[in-house]
């Protein structure tokens, strides 16, 4: 408890405020509060806190500011509050809340450059603090980096506890009964005589009290939600077709639109002939948008058809037109003048590599699309004094700024309503669809316009995962890994992504070597160098970001060296791991998979891989059979340490899904360019894994250490190398390039 309270005191204070008909509880961030996002609804405008709990006579609302892309975080955030508030999830309304700097994400800064997530030295903490303050200034209300649970763990539980204790104080004032004699349960204060006072009836009194901020959080033995399998609050809607997503938005008088912009990403539109399109049935207006045209019609399909009837002349893109030239740029980047970082340089790699046989290898990982199943969309309604936007976005604050710029409205008059997302994987960190919708909305003032991308438009303009290349040299000695020198070249994803938001990020890009330099292995001579290539096609965060490529490079290289040393792949990783929690993860996956070596019978093999990403050590074992129809993936075992498992079932789902995501893309996923345009425009060219290919998956979450971490991304990086290592065990063939089906067939 002591630790929780210290954290609570240092980074936020819990307060309360009167709201119309009741009370709101939430965090004062830092010591100086930021403006209240719900000021519109406040009766008393001087209250300035981040709302997490709002109670009025009408009901209890829990505010869950991190967006739900399918990972179940609306549920998790609500459960953390409800646990301490003593209310059941069937008694509350869950609301994502408006964009506000008060909801800034403190956990993202844990991935500060140059310090390992396990590193608590002063310098590391100092850097985090600086990053924290920067985020407050920027108001980064971002969902990403597997940060939701880490960010919410203390904040939301404390908010729930303060609300609970203040409601008890209100009950004491109303009844004269001592707080010590009260219980709370199912949204009510229970008096010693059994009388129940509903929170909703106590709200008005609670609003007049100073919040009780000296709270004790519940002992874990008393938890009703945390640590238990829960039925997600969205599961029945999502099983009955009644969950509405952004694309399902409906408003009175709404019209339907689509856009086509230059398929050479970022290139200009030189000309457009819209005559045919304008005459087509249902077309209301054809409007220019940045680098392309939009069609507004009375039906989405009619808008799609009309957009196809426009003939365009497109300008060139700034990146190389042909894919081979992208690879050539990377190959030329392993040079001193491209060096971006060298966060790992243990021992003396040069000296070690000058002796004996040197193992060398080169690895490649292609561009990949996010391609969530719900195409990008945004609905806007713009009037002379207000803009409303309904969309699934991970960056509502940036969307608000952009729409204010386009419409000329004050930011306060731009209202972003975040809707449920049909997947994202990083796709909805971009705001092009929102800015395009704003242009269409301006052309149709006072009429709601829903912009829906066709699948082809969505994939043509996906800001993909980075393309990357790595070169390894290493040596072994006395049956052990002696030296590993890994160089990684890629364009900067942070620079590309933040650049589109108008921000520049100085210094090295930690993502260029994330998932490689920060691995907890005590290799005597160990060097990881990041090389920043010239910018290529625009790129963005893709589930696990830098580690999605680098986890493959690093663990594949390690596996090759372990093989050269003649050591057991599991034993040598365990021997090299200096971090207790990482070693525990490897021990556990060895036990879970019954590991007794890479060979498991004729034409069969298994591989292990490890990657620490987002502070989570994760180890996976993959078993394959080399059949006459190709490689079949039979089983996967995965173990990760997240510090605290909030919902075991949801953790298991996210791990299993992350593994299938990673394996599917490793097998067949690739985005390439010809004539400056994306070659793969639909799922026929980019499908990832199908049901018949999905292996049997066994997962386990460990609860070691003090840090609570998210699980959305960490299962992704180890899966591809574990598969490659398993294929090597089964066939003797090393696969060093994704997608693997360029080199070997799969069932």
């Amino acid at each position: 408890m002591g630790r929780i309270k210290t954290i609570a005191r240092r980074t936020f204070l819990i307060g309360s405020a009167a709201v119309l008909g009741g009370v709101a509880f939430g965090a004062y961030l830092y010591k100086k509060p930021v403006a209240n996002p719900l000021v519109d609804d406040l009766a008393d405008g001087d209250a300035a806190l981040t709302e997490y709990v709002r109670i009025t006579a009408d009901g209890v609302t829990l505010i869950t500011p991190r967006a739900d892309k399918g990972q179940g975080v609306y549920h998790v955030q609500a459960a953390l509050i409800a646990e301490e508030l003593d209310i059941d999830l069937d008694q509350v309304t869950v609301d994502p809340g408006p964009p506000s700097p008060a909801y800034y994400n403190t956990a993202l800064s844990e991935e500060a450059p140059g310090f390992m997530p396990t590193d608590d030295r002063f310098a590391a903490n100092a850097t985090r603090t600086v990053m924290d303050a920067a985020m407050k200034i920027m108001g980064v209300q971002i969902t990403g980096g597997s940060t939701t649970v880490a960010d919410s763990w203390d904040k939301l539980r404390v908010a729930g506890a303060v609300a609970r204790e203040t409601l008890k104080a209100a009950a004491a004032q109303e009844t004269g009964v001592a707080v010590a004699n009260m219980q709370t349960e199912r949204g009510a204060v229970i008096l010693p005589d059994g009388r129940q006072l509903a929170y909703t009836d106590l709200a008005a009194t609670a609003a007049g009290l100073d919040p009780v901020d000296n709270v004790t959080l519940k002992d874990p033995s008393k938890w009703r939600y945390i640590g238990k399998d829960m039925q997600r609050i969205d599961i029945v809607p999502k099983s009955t077709g009644t969950q509405t997503y952004g694309i399902d938005m409906e408003l009175d008088g709404m019209v339907h639109a689509t856009v086509i912009t230059n398929p050479r990403k970022g290139g200009a539109m030189l000309s457009a002939n819209t005559a045919d399109a304008e005459g087509m049935r249902g077309v209301l207006k054809v409007v220019e948008v940045p680098n392309g045209m939009g069609v507004i019609a009375d039906n989405t399909w009619r808008a799609f058809q009309a957009a196809q009837a426009i003939t365009f002349e497109w300008g060139p893109a700034e990146y190389p037109a042909e894919q081979d030239d992208h690879w050539a740029v990377l190959a030329e980047s392993f040079k001193k003048d491209h060096q971006d970082s060298q966060y790992r340089d243990d021992g003396d790699a040069d000296s070690a590599l000058s002796k004996g046989d040197v193992v060398t290898a080169e690895y490649r990982a292609p561009y990949l699309a996010h391609a969530p199943l719900e195409p990008l969309n945004a609905t806007v309604l713009i009037t002379d004094n207000r803009a409303d936007v309904w969309t699934g976005t991970q960056v509502p604050r940036f969307a608000q700024d952009a729409v204010a710029d386009i419409t000329g409205l004050d930011k306060d008059d731009v209202h972003i309503h975040v809707l449920m997302m049909g997947g994202s994987f990083g796709h909805r960190l971009e705001i092009d669809v929102i800015t395009q919708a704003a242009h269409l909305g301006l052309a149709m003032k006072n009429t709601p316009v829903k912009l829906t991308y066709s699948r082809e438009e969505d994939m043509a303009h996906d800001y993909t995962r980075q393309i990357a290349m790595a070169r390894m040299q290493g040596t072994v000695k006395d049956g052990q890994v002696e030296a590993l020198d890994l160089g990684i070249a890629m364009p900067s994803v942070i620079s590309s992504q933040m650049g589109r938001l108008g921000l520049s990020v100085p210094g090295p890009d930690a993502m260029i070597t994330a998932g490689a330099w920060d691995q907890p292995f005590g290799i005597p001579n160990y060097r990881v160098t990041g090389y920043r290539s010239a910018d290529l096609a625009p790129i963005s965060s893709w589930r696990s970001v830098g580690a999605s490529t680098n986890g493959f490079f690093h663990d594949s290289a390690l596996d090759e060296l372990i093989h050269a040393a003649g050591a057991d792949p599991m034993d040598e990783r365990i021997r090299l791991a200096w971090d207790d929690n990482s070693r525990a993860v490897l021990d556990e996956v060895a036990q879970l998979s019954g590991w007794d070596g890479p060979s498991i019978g004729a034409n069969r093999g298994r591989g292990v891989a490890f990657c620490m990403s987002f502070g989570v050590p994760c180890a996976e074992v993959v078993e394959v059979t080399n059949t006459d129809r190709g490689i079949q993936i039979d089983k996967v075992f995965a173990v990760a340490n997240v510090g605290r498992v909030v919902d075991p079932q949801n953790l298991s789902r996210l791990m299993s899904g992350g593994i299938i995501w990673a394996l599917g893309h490793a097998i067949s996923g690739e985005i390439t360019h010809s004539d400056g345009m994306t070659d793969q425009l639909n799922y026929d060219g980019f499908e990832a894994m199908r049901l018949y290919q999905a292996p049997e998956i066994t997962v386990k979450g460990l609860e070691l250490g003090d840090h609570v971490r998210g699980i959305g991304e960490p299962p992704v990086p180890p899966a591809a190398p574990a598969l490659a290592n398993a294929i090597f065990a089964a066939t003797g063939q090393r696969i060093r390039e994704m997608p693997f089906n360029k080199h070997i067939d799969f069932v």
């Binding site: 892309k69 399918g70 990972q71 179940g72 039925q231 997600r232 969205d234 599961i235 029945v236 809607p237 999502k238 099983s239 009955t240 077709g241 009644t242 969950q243 509405t244 997503y245 694309i247 399902d248 409906e250 339907h256 049935r281 039906n299 989405t300 399909w301 009619r302 799609f304 391609a371 969530p372 199943l373 719900e374 195409p375 049909g422 997947g423 994202s424 829906t452 066709s454 699948r455 079932q649 949801n650 789902r653 299993s656 899904g657 992350g658 593994i659 299938i660 995501w661 599917g664 639909n682 799922y683 026929d684 499908e687 990832a688 894994m689 199908r690 049901l691 018949y692 999905a694 998956i697």
Partner: protein, 153 residues
């Protein structure tokens, strides 16, 4: 033309070749049916035509005239779920959930034809439905549960 959707007749004024998907979503307002790819690669738009699963993005409106169209919203409701939907909720299949309307409609159609599907049947019948979140192990388990529920009536 007249379309019978989830037991209700709707008069719509659309081109013969407008995909049923867009008639359902934009003209009639059935939003449980999802657009994912438009070329029968993902299965998110799956509905039943006289009980058989079809991709509504590849079905012309005119070809649905005279048929009974059943969508996810007609298969069951939150308070009266179909056995397949119950199994989906029990196994907590959905993550983002966007593909699940189509997955459920495909599974319901399969189970009507094959009451006790083998793993190979499930592979063959369900592999046209894409799930980007990777819920396939839960889909497989839910189908087994749903089959048992349907057999028990």
């Amino acid at each position: 033309m007249q379309l019978n959707v989830d037991g209700t007749t709707h008069e719509v004024d659309v081109e013969d070749d407008m995909p049923l998907l867009w008639v359902l979503r934009d003209e009639i307002g059935v939003k449980g049916v999802k657009y994912g790819c438009g070329i029968a690669q993902c299965g998110a738009c799956t509905v039943h035509l006289d009980g058989v699963a079809v991709r509504s993005c590849q079905t012309w409106a005119v070809d649905a005239v005279g048929a009974e169209v059943t969508t996810i919203n007609g298969l069951g409701t939150p308070n009266a779920m179909h056995a397949v939907q119950e199994a989906w909720a029990e196994h907590q299949v959905a993550q983002c959930g966007y593909c699940q309307s189509g997955q459920i409609m495909q599974a319901a159609s399969m189970l009507a034809a094959i009451p006790e599907p083998a793993d190979e049947d499930i592979d063959a019948e369900m592999s046209g439905n894409l799930c980007r979140c990777g819920t396939y192990p839960q889909i497989r388990a839910a189908i087994v549960t749903a089959a048992a529920k349907l057999r028990e009536g």
